[in-house]
Symmetry: C2
Subunit: 203 residues, 2 copies
């Protein structure tokens, strides 16, 4: 009969597609600000504008919420690095990496902070998965340094240490850089590239 509409949900493709991301965004913000252990599911729910119980429609538990945020961040980092245009010499690749790292991390301060600070709050298995992704990223920088050694354009006493030293230095930008501060991000990139290049004996 004409008066009977199909029994579809009242809001087709309902709000789960929008509430899910909002839950993750609120969790990321709060975890970054106060720390995973200090943030309650009730706080996250309040930020989203739902009741605490409703969160469990979008995550099996609090731990999975943390892991998903960190995994998504690391995957995005690896994917973005993969998408960089190809580059010939080691020095060019190192400059590309330096500028990419600073720019990518500065645009995702909360995720970077959480992914580093909350490692110890991951379950053993989850920790292993994130660590492997972090190591994969480090390996990409080390490969550049090794290539530079091989072609003679770089000089480092230990590629592993240099890798860790450079990443620590570059990620450190996130502890102080704020948009609209004394220096533009492009300027910061330039200054750091200068220090990086000289630290590894590149020209």
């Amino acid at each position: 009969m004409a008066g009977i509409v199909a029994p579809m949900a009242r809001k087709p493709g309902s709000r789960s597609e929008i509430t899910g991301p909002r839950v993750r965004a609120a969790a990321l913000r709060l975890f970054a600000r106060h720390g995973y252990a200090a943030v309650s599911m009730r706080q996250i729910a309040a930020e989203v504008g739902v009741q605490a119980g409703a969160l469990y429609l979008y995550t099996p538990d609090k731990q999975s919420l943390l892991f998903d945020l960190m995994q998504a961040h690391m995957q995005e980092l690896l994917d973005a690095h993969d998408a960089l245009p190809p580059c010939s010499g080691a020095l060019e690749r190192l400059e590309q990496f330096t500028r990419f790292h600073i720019r990518h991390h500065a645009a995702r301060a909360d995720a970077v902070f959480v992914s580093y600070m909350e490692l110890r709050n991951l379950d053993a298995g989850n920790f292993g998965a994130i660590e492997a992704m972090r190591r994969a990223y480090e390996d990409r920088l080390e490969a550049i340094l090794c290539a530079g050694l091989a072609e003679g354009s770089l000089h480092v006493p230990d590629t592993k240490l240099a890798t860790l030293a450079l990443i620590a230095m570059l990620t450190g930008v996130n502890t102080w850089y704020r948009e609209g501060g004394r220096l533009s991000l492009a300027t910061v990139e330039g200054i750091y590239w200068d220090m990086v290049r000289r630290a590894v004996g590149g020209g």
Copy 2:
């Protein structure tokens, strides 16, 4: 009368002098391992071997316990730096700072970790006090860089950025260095000094 002893405490200068430090040591260890927010006063008490209530004889509350640990660490850092033997040229002072920073921090991994990771768990007033001490330490490195610029032995585009970059790089050693690993601390110091010197254009 001879049989009546003076009403002194049964254990003269009783155990508070030994239990207090043990409370702080246990708190430091647990805060470093699991994070301030994730550690309960009951856990700390269990580690010390007392009941939870007894902790409040040694600290007014959990927050003060964290603040005292961080303040003591920062004060010890500043004092140890003050105690370094005097040094003439900027390059010599920079090498001294580099080696001192690595050595001092490597020997206090828990305190370093807590003092960096738990900043956001400090009350506003406590945070300000710790931040001021951290800035005082950074200023000592920046003074060396400025002196190097003045005497022409160093070349950096921005002393503030170079200061932050170098400290991030040096403190990063703590994330991977373990005693008995592939490299001795003296070797690590040497490799990092090499990178530091070149990064700031020192010879």
